[in-house]
Symmetry: C2
Subunit: 190 residues, 2 copies
């Protein structure tokens, strides 16, 4: 396994590459490990509990959100699941086709769509979630409860930093320049 040993080594190599420009090592390490951990956890969960139910990570997260929050408007589900509205439309369609999710128009506001689990969906989550949580415990197995709390708190601060100051920061960085559109995606109309 390459991973852990190499991060420290990679830092040195990167610093050498830059010839004297100082590197924010601790910050670099924390970002690298956040991403590494996220991939590792996702992969483990997908391969252990999700594959058997033929669910992707995203599909599971969407089901989970609707499960715990009950019938919800799609924009909230997308926000809560951390995906775009457009992506949710597709995922929801897939899940609806598999009979796990239901969509219904909002009674008074015709623009909204409400998502809820079908009975089959509820049943699946009742069965699947305990197994999922068990694997969450497995991946965190080398951390004590106290350490879990402390790591979680640190990560929360990262999330808050980006959510509360990220936008402003991006504006400052680009300083007026247009945000440089993605090269992929639908083309500007003209």
């Amino acid at each position: 396994m390459p991973g852990q040993r190499s991060i420290a080594e990679a830092e040195k190599l990167a610093e050498a590459k830059l010839g004297g420009i100082p590197l924010r090592r601790e910050q670099m390490a924390v970002v690298a490990n956040i991403y590494r951990a996220a991939s590792a956890v996702r992969q483990h969960l997908e391969n252990s509990v999700l594959r058997g139910a033929d669910l992707t990570w995203t599909a599971f997260v969407v089901l989970w959100v609707v499960w715990v929050w009950g019938e919800s408007e799609t924009r909230h589900v997308a926000e809560e699941a951390g995906i775009s509205k457009g992506t949710l439309t597709g995922v929801a369609r897939t899940l609806e086709g598999r009979g796990l999710l239901r969509r219904a128009g909002h009674p008074s506001d015709g623009r909204l769509v409400l998502l809820s689990l079908t009975e089959e969906g509820e049943e699946l989550m009742r069965r699947l979630f305990p197994a999922f949580n068990e694997e969450e415990a497995f991946v965190a197995g080398r951390l004590s409860d106290e350490e879990c709390r402390s790591v979680a708190e640190g990560l929360r601060r990262v999330v808050r930093q980006v959510e509360e100051e990220g936008e402003e920061r991006r504006v400052t960085l680009l300083d007026g320049a247009e945000p440089a559109p993605r090269r992929s995606g639908r083309r500007a109309k003209a």
Copy 2:
């Protein structure tokens, strides 16, 4: 801005849904926040420094790996970058087309392909990486150096747990049953 407040609430709701089955709260929170933080960080980095260079996160990581490690075999690059071999083939092709990456056959083993940066690629990384690292520092701005180290160390343990015991764990869980192929992806031949 859904995020933080809701996790604690969601735990209670999930517990209620399960009626008495105990939940591993701390472990659940740490996993949820790992994923949340990873998305937030990725999005910020993509929108601030990467978009300007028309690079996706993955493309940047691949370039970074080749940059710091020098000419490398594709399987090592994929491993180090945390993506599959198949994905790397496509990403490398794209980067090659943009003149940032070079591919060369291995002199003695005809199966291998070696990746290295072109001069243009080197130049790009010299320019881009300092800005990238600056934003890494930004997202970790609410953590002290000491806190960064401690969070990183906690995450490293998660990664190691999955890397060292994940495979065995999956085998135990499935207990003989075939690993249940993905429903997506290429179909079995017959």
